[in-house]
Amino acid sequence: MKFMPIVPVGFVHQGQLARDVEKAVAKLSRREVVRVRHSVGVDSTGEPAIFFRIVLTDAASKADALADVTGRVSATLFDELRPHENWGLIPYFSFRSKSEQDNRNEPEWA
């Protein structure tokens, strides 16, 4: 049997959260970010969490730029969304390059 992580009903208004994420994503640079996907669940310690999957342009994924780019992108999403204060969610960020995602073609990132 497969178990899905469940966040209590009413804890997160998924539609409002999606709109807020969309607004935050609009502030990101198109030269750096191809798309952002998110899901809500629980983390490894059972805390409610929001998981961001961020596809970067290949140029922004270069090793020498990566720390700056990922810092900037996660800070923008964090500051715009305020996940702790506004949503009671712990944010987690994962980054892939466009070419990596094109090779893997995983639906969660598409």
């Binding site: 720390a67 810092g71 204060e85 390059s97």
Partner: protein, 148 residues
């Protein structure tokens, strides 16, 4: 670096180990910074074993909540560095859990490298703020379990 061990086609084991090692590097940095305040050097290792991963993550998440920790009157650049260290610790602990226990997860090089790079940044941030009082208070919060 482990993440560059096989530059063309990185092995999943190398990428997983890179993420796990990066987490433990930050974990040990914070613990050693905290126990260094203990006067007796011969007791520091024993004190270091009192730290608990889960409590450290909870404390790190609390520091990021501006309602619980507004840090009014503090230097914004110090607050920003402290929150970066705390955020990176919580983030890396979660990623370490996935890297060590979720074999279904496929890691790309960018995914692993971005986690390692954030720890490198956290080390630099910590160096800038280590002597600040809010940074020292954060270290204590990592050790002391929050009472309900």
């Amino acid at each position: 670096m482990l993440v560059d061990k096989e530059p063309r086609k990185p092995k999943q084991a190398s990428l997983r180990r890179a993420v796990s090692s990066a987490y433990y590097a930050l974990f040990h940095l914070l613990i050693s910074a905290c126990v260094a305040n203990w006067k007796r050097p011969d007791q520091r290792a024993a004190l270091g074993r009192a730290f608990d991963h889960s409590s450290m993550k909870s404390a790190s998440n609390r520091v990021q909540d501006t309602r619980q920790f507004p840090f009014t009157g503090e230097d914004p650049s110090v607050v920003s560095d402290l929150r970066y260290v705390a955020k990176t610790f919580a983030q890396l602990q979660e990623q370490r859990h996935v890297a060590d226990y979720d074999n279904a997860k496929f890691w790309t090089k960018t995914e692993a490298l971005s986690q390692v790079a954030s720890v490198q940044q956290a080390f630099r941030a910590w160096k800038r703020i280590a002597k600040e009082s809010i940074a020292q208070a954060y270290l204590i919060s990592l050790l002391v379990r929050k009472r309900d």
